[in-house]
């Protein structure tokens, strides 16, 4: 059994009681824990709820997978499992919000964002309810579970909804920052999460604002604007390019809607080439949002990199990332292709 296969088996089992055993097994197998942070979603929300009685949490039969069970264990009376009924969960969250609560409702992004898109629009965004819809296991991180369980369209579908803040959590510490900042955000939010053991980008909890991207690395030759899982890949690619004397700026554009237009503008003006990288369909997501800003600026070489507009192949996540060039090697390669156009 490869490490990759073992990771897949954990998607549904999560990491509570079973988790410890699995982690023990993994450590026996030599996988460093630091590279596989536990899903902090439920733990962070439970911490926040200690001092904020408005915070409640719901899930749709995935309390183990998204670790909202960590919240349930500490605040059982403020936790609701709606079972496999995502539409009811999201709309009920809106009803709860209308009574002054701040519900965080979580399930796989394929179901919260895509199945629940109309409920998010009509019941959360339109009445400006303080609902936070969380979509975990986004992109194609569900690997061989297949396209029904992937969410490669969620950003495109949701960023055109008025009065809805759309953000991507990058890693565990960043997720903590997003959750902390979300409490006082007025109105509805969609928060896109990875599988919960995302590669580390932030060693500490960063200071964030939902209007401002985070510039992680300075550079002069191009800017890689990434979100979610691809921020780590972008940083790794930038380090790789540095070996050849190419200086790449890296921006974590976690704030998909509203996009940080000033940061895009600076990227164009300062580095003269922009590569966007996202674990999302190439149509309508981060790349499109950045392109919409660039339309008003003098033209610079620009490349959208993501998943082509086709349903993806079956495979373990790491194999899929490699296949679609959404890893260090792939992003490095695409960056070189873009720079060739700049010259």
């Amino acid at each position: 059994m490869t490490t990759e296969m073992q990771d897949e088996s954990e998607i549904f089992r999560g990491t509570t009681t079973g988790a410890t055993q699995l982690r023990d097994k993994r450590s026996v197998r030599g996988t460093p824990k630091a590279g596989m942070p536990a899903f902090v979603l439920g733990e962070e929300l439970a911490d926040l709820a200690e001092t904020d009685p408005r915070i409640v949490v719901g899930t749709a039969d995935l309390a183990s997978a998204n670790r909202t069970n960590d919240f349930r264990d500490r605040h059982p009376h403020r936790f609701v499992n709606f079972s496999i009924a995502e539409k009811n969960m999201i709309t009920a969250a809106a009803g709860m919000a209308s009574c002054g609560l701040i519900p965080y409702v979580a399930t796989f992004a394929s179901f919260s964002a895509i199945l629940g898109a109309e409920q998010i629009r009509t019941d959360c965004a339109y009445p400006r309810m303080n609902v936070r819809v969380l979509g975990s296991h986004s992109g194609m991180s569900m690997g061989f579970y297949g396209s029904s369980h992937h969410a490669l369209e969620d950003l495109a579908m949701l960023r055109c909804i008025a009065d809805l803040k759309v953000v991507c959590a990058t890693d565990a510490n960043h997720l903590r920052a997003v959750l902390r900042a979300s409490v006082e955000h007025p109105g509805a939010m969609y928060i896109r999460l990875g599988r919960g053991r995302d590669p580390v980008v932030y060693d500490t909890v960063p200071d964030i604002s939902f209007d401002r991207a985070i510039r992680l690395r300075e550079g002069q030759d191009l800017t890689i604007i990434a979100c979610g899982s691809q921020v780590r890949a972008a940083l790794d690619a930038a380090n790789e390019l540095q070996q050849d004397g190419i200086s790449a700026r890296v921006v974590d554009m976690f704030t998909i809607d509203t996009i940080d237009a000033d940061e895009v503008r600076s990227a164009a003006e300062d580095t003269g080439a922009i590569l966007t990288v996202e674990e999302h369909n190439i149509t309508g997501g981060l790349g499109s949002a950045v392109a919409e800003v660039l339309l008003d600026l003098p033209r610079v070489p620009f490349r959208k990199h993501g998943v082509p507009d086709k349903f993806v192949e079956v495979g373990p996540p790491a194999a899929l990332y490699a296949h679609y060039r959404l890893d260090k090697a792939g992003v490095t390669e695409v960056a070189r292709e873009l720079l060739a156009r700049k010259a």
């Binding site: 709309t91 009803g95 709860m96 009574c99 609560l101 009509t122």
Partner: protein, 290 residues
């Protein structure tokens, strides 16, 4: 605090307020040039009984946390709700003269951000009961004793989300949740039983763990008794009042007619219908309900 119970408003007053709802629906529809007459007429007695007698509300404090909630899941009947809220003092009745005009607070479907006293927005059918489930859950979590009322149409019972919500309310034993189903028998394309059967509706709710009452939804006395039974209920279950009604009730030409889901009364027709409504409800023509 203890709940105040209904039953304190006279039959005559409620009858008059139901007439008011119907006449205002006709008046506002003329401003818009179109209106959902018949879906509103079918629930006029239910609305009047709820707002003028049954619900615990304080119009001077629309945000009062302990108030009873009302969700008009069949949002196209909001035209009958707006005049009630104005009449109760949530806003100046003259504001209704802007109904559906550019920038108005009052559209065909209700927007809670704009209309004081609206506990939730609606329009997309099948959502309202989930909203009510959330409100009832919130009331329980916050230790409030308010009750949440949700008005469903019979046509929207074909929406799957309704049954997710029915199931969850039964499972969570939301005793503070009351559903009124306005079974007016018609959806846009025909008789509900022909388009998509919803019967046996009482058995369906009961199977999901609800207490069920079934009444004539135009009989104010029956409505009063049904509400009184809510106060006595001790099963711990959510409550549904299935109200058999007549779509278009009150205007003979509209009763059980498929032509009046949306319409526009003008000229003499407008005057005739207002006069007919002024005269009060007449017995239903037997063929109308066939």
């Amino acid at each position: 605090m203890t709940r105040t119970t209904g039953g304190n408003v006279s039959h005559e007053v409620l009858e008059d307020r139901a007439k008011f709802i119907r006449k205002e629906t006709v008046r506002l529809s003329r401003i818009a040039g179109a209106g959902h007459y018949s879906s509103t007429f079918s629930c006029a007695e239910l609305l009047a009984s709820l707002y003028y007698d049954q619900m615990r509300i304080e119009p001077t404090q629309p945000g009062w946390p302990e108030r009873d909630r009302f969700v008009m899941s069949k949002g196209h009947a909001a035209i009958g709700l707006y005049p009630v809220l104005a009449d109760l003092g949530y806003y100046d009745p003259s504001e209704l003269d802007t109904y559906t005009r550019l920038g108005s607070n009052f559209g065909d479907h209700p927007d809670m951000k704009k209309g004081r006293g609206l506990d939730f927005s609606s329009g997309s059918l099948g959502h309202g009961l989930s909203v009510g489930v959330g409100m009832a859950l919130a009331g329980r979590m916050q230790s409030h004793d308010f009750r949440t009322y949700v008005m469903l149409g019979d046509g929207e019972l074909s929406e799957g989300q309704i049954w997710e919500a029915v199931n969850s309310a039964g499972h969570f034993k939301l005793r503070n949740l009351v559903v009124l189903v306005d079974v007016n028998g018609l959806s846009i394309d025909g008789h509900t039983e022909d388009v998509m059967s919803i019967e046996p509706l009482g058995d369906r709710f009961a199977a999901f763990g609800w207490d069920v009452q079934r009444i004539d939804g135009h009989d104010l006395t029956a409505i009063r008794h049904a509400f009184a039974a809510l106060e006595r209920a001790d099963s711990g279950k959510p409550q549904v009042i299935i109200a058999d009604t007549v779509k278009g009730r009150g205007v003979a030409r509209m009763e059980m007619s498929l032509d009046w889901h949306v319409g526009n009364l003008v000229g003499e027709d407008y005057d005739d219908v207002m006069a007919e409504l002024d005269a009060g409800l007449k017995p239903i023509e037997p063929e109308a309900t066939q």
